[in-house]
Amino acid sequence: MNKQDKIANPETKILIEKSGLKIKNPDFTDMLMAKIEAKTCLEFSFKKYLKLSWFFIILSALILPLSIDMVISNFNTYFPYFELYLPVNTQSLMLFLIVGMVLIILFQIDKLINMTLKRGVLN
């Protein structure tokens, strides 16, 4: 018996052919497809919301500096006695606000970059 005959051994083939197993769960395919469809829907809405999030973050990053600048320039005109009730002056208060908002925007951008790179919930 040569080596190839030994590998293609018909005796073994007859036996192993009887070893085929079947998944016992009759709903296996339905369950799997439901899972895949749910994940696909989730993935679709995830991508949609990701796009919207990018749009709003860019919009707020553009609008925020303009609105802060507007508020700072007009603050003393509209609220001339405001500084009397605060331990800090309005310039310092605005600086804190700007730093806080910039940090929040940067944090959100970082989260969005991570989510975009992971490319969805299926991964």
């Binding site: 590998i7 005796e11 036996l15 070893s19 197993l21 079947k22 497809m33 895949i36």
Partner: protein
């Protein structure tokens, strides 16, 4: 047929994937059982592998058969589960002699098909994961050595050696199983 279905799935027809699941789930399950030796975990593994295949379907270039590509995912997922859960697998390395198998074949014919299947699968479960996997791929799914190489990442020489050893181990173990069963009946 597979390629048409794959194209449909890529174009957004998620339900077309059902055809591929129905076609390959049982062989994927047999492969998973060979490695994991546990039907429940094997079923989970098949599910995970199909989800992974669905996600990666766009990356399937059609260089090999879809089944070869899918079974490679099934094998990799099963190996990951073994690593994760440290499942117990039994190594049998002391049965390397070659022998004729006709006596085993004659003995098993005495049993009904149900029991034949039961003893054959019990014996395959006693082999280590590589041996049982290669036997099923080569003799049950009729994969070529080249396809087995792609699925398992083993070298051709290694596959031949393991197949040779697996066959011997399988027949010796099966004979023991049958003798034990016959003696318990008598």
């Amino acid at each position: 047929m597979d390629n048409i279905t794959i194209q449909k799935v890529i174009e957004g027809d998620v339900n077309a994937f059902r055809f591929l699941v129905d076609k390959y789930k049982d062989m994927s399950f047999s492969i998973s059982c060979s490695i994991l030796k546990n039907e429940q975990i094997a079923e989970e593994n098949v599910q995970d592998a199909f989800i992974k295949a669905f996600k990666a379907l766009k990356q399937f270039k059609g260089d090999s058969k879809f089944s070869t590509w899918l079974y490679k995912i099934v094998v990799n997922e099963a190996l990951k589960k073994i690593k994760k859960k440290s499942l117990e697998t039994k190594e049998i390395n002391d049965l390397d002699e070659y022998k004729e198998y006709s006596s085993v074949n004659d003995s098993i014919k005495e049993f009904s098909l149900f029991y034949q299947k039961k003893y054959i699968n019990a014996t395959l479960n006693k082999l280590n994961e590589k041996e049982s996997l290669l036997l099923r791929l080569y003799y049950l799914n009729e994969n070529s050595i080249q396809e087995i190489k792609e699925i398992t990442n083993l070298s051709t020489a290694n596959i031949k050696v393991i197949l040779h050893r697996a066959r011997n181990n399988f027949h010796i173990k099966l004979e023991k199983e049958l003798n034990h069963e016959l003696s318990s009946i008598l």
